[in-house]
Symmetry: C2
Subunit: 325 residues, 2 copies
């Protein structure tokens, strides 16, 4: 990571540690502080600040909006984990496990409102525009999560539907983070839109990389158990592609594992991974990631600022693509 | 109801029927439309329009903000019903019963965002102020719901704590509705604040009246079963007062019903109501309602507009106080 990314990250982390601090009652505000304290890459708020910096402006005006985006992101993880009944997030117990479902619901609601409060702190002349972008994005994320849940009941999800889902659930927020920075840096409409598209493509590549790491990540680096998506039958790009490309024998084997109620987890991961290997899904997936990554760089290159200003965004994107966790 | 109230109500109902219409996927947007379609008094958006009208301004600019408030109110009912595990709302199945818990969580989240989208439609010069009021109120409502849930675990809730809870959970939204109208009517700060206080006091009286009707309402008019709060041990004003004012014999009887796991519902309602009767809680409660009602009228009278403009707000308040459902 460059010095600038580290600097922005520290700034974000420092301010995040102040969010909802001292708010009462503890029963409502401790869970949000807990979720936020679990960390993560802080990718989205860093992108907002980097977008401001890209246009040579001071990042200060954008810090609160960046925090609002990160609070909203953490809210969506909190409610998604509850809906997915996930036990662990970033190595720690999820809120509904550590406390209970009602706490997860209400604390999440409070986080949405807190996110809006932070976003609303932007200078007044940007407020209407920033708010519209934020609300549209937030609604897209709900739509994406709904598609994700709807897909659980279906075995005929197409690749296009899957891409549409992760576009809504994940990619719009990286797009929004960057465009928010562009707006607050007084970038022109065309540049703001190009940065948004850069973020969408980067977000798609990022999520596909996540799916891939879940199966092909190095267990020593990955930070969580390999194969979680396989165990839970999650409709990832790999599974959707496997269902489509498999021959009758492979398909029968896949269906057997997808419907098995009692199974050895490691055995299931090995068996499904073997089919993925036979179908060369690792390289197929890597090619798609590369496609979106290159598309994202195309969008970035069309932004009307000198190339040397873009170096840090390109380096950050590269790190995201070639990460092993 | 006056012609004006009916006119505002029709306007609100017509616009509410358009909310989220045609939005996809159905799995996400049908539940919010269902909740909104169940009706209700539409008290809050009507109050917003009446506040604008009080200052002699056109209500048109405030309609979207009023809708945002009503959408938020319906969101809070949706999530509260899930957290309280309530089966019925306004005579129909609650969302988590008609669909499931995940649908209730995510549809509710989408409603919060939709509420913000409507509120954000106010003319730009009012946006920052309106948004601050709305977010502060929304957070207060979460805090109120948290207190309400925390009170379930306690038998030592004081009257002051109860009033603080309903102030947050209910009264701030009637206050916000009125103040929102005042802001959008360019009322001066002092008048906007007086209307807010009018709304707080009216909201407190309104909620206390709700508690009272649950026990002493006419079953023919009330619309839901009498005694629901007693059956579920809800910490209402009546129960809190009964726990405090009861003699040892009454307290023992109360405790027996509060801890009973298997009981005949009607028998429990009768027995607890008998204690309420002995403690004269109906009249004690009516006196408190009257106190807040009179305080609300005091606040309204201090608003700097001719008295004859206030007639409709006073009539609406009276109707709320002397209602039987």
């Amino acid at each position: 990571m460059t010095n600038k990314v580290t600097f922005f990250r520290n700034q974000i982390d420092e301010k995040l540690s102040e969010v909802m601090k001292g708010s009462q009652p503890e029963t409502l505000f401790e869970p949000p502080r807990y979720v936020i304290s679990l960390g993560g890459k802080r990718l989205r708020p860093i992108l907002t600040l980097m977008a401001v910096d890209l246009f040579g402006k001071e990042v200060e005006t954008a810090v609160n909006a960046a925090l609002g985006i990160e609070i909203f992101h953490n809210f969506s993880l909190l409610h998604d984990d509850l809906m997915d009944n996930a036990d662990v997030r970033r190595g720690s117990a999820t809120v509904h496990k550590k406390w209970n479902a009602n706490t997860a619901i209400l604390s999440g609601d409070a986080m949405v409102i807190e996110a809006y409060k932070y976003v609303a702190k932007v200078p007044e002349k940007y407020l209407a525009k920033v708010l519209e972008l934020f609300s549209d994005t937030a609604m897209d994320i709900c739509i994406g999560q709904q598609y994700d849940m709807d897909f659980e009941q279906r075995c005929d999800v197409t690749e296009a539907e899957y891409i549409e889902m992760i576009l809504n659930k994940t990619a719009v927020l990286t797009g929004c983070s960057l465009k928010m920075g562009a707006i607050l840096a007084d970038a022109d409409e065309r540049d703001a839109e190009a940065l948004y598209q850069f973020g969408l493509n980067l977000g798609l590549a990022f999520q596909l990389k996540d799916d891939l790491l879940d199966v092909y990540g190095d267990p020593k680096c990955f930070g969580k158990k390999i194969g979680g998506d396989i165990i839970s039958n999650k409709k990832t790009y790999l599974l959707i592609k496997a269902l489509k490309n498999s021959d009758p024998v492979q398909r029968k084997e896949l269906d057997r594992w997808l419907t098995a109620e009692h199974f050895d987890k490691e055995e299931k991961v090995e068996a499904v991974k073997k089919i993925y290997d036979e179908l060369k899904l690792k390289v197929i997936s890597e090619n798609l990631i590369e496609k979106y990554y290159l598309a994202s760089l195309d969008c970035l290159s069309s932004v009307n600022v000198p190339d040397d200003r873009k170096k840090e965004l390109i380096e950050l994107s590269e790190n995201l693509m070639y990460r092993d966790r």
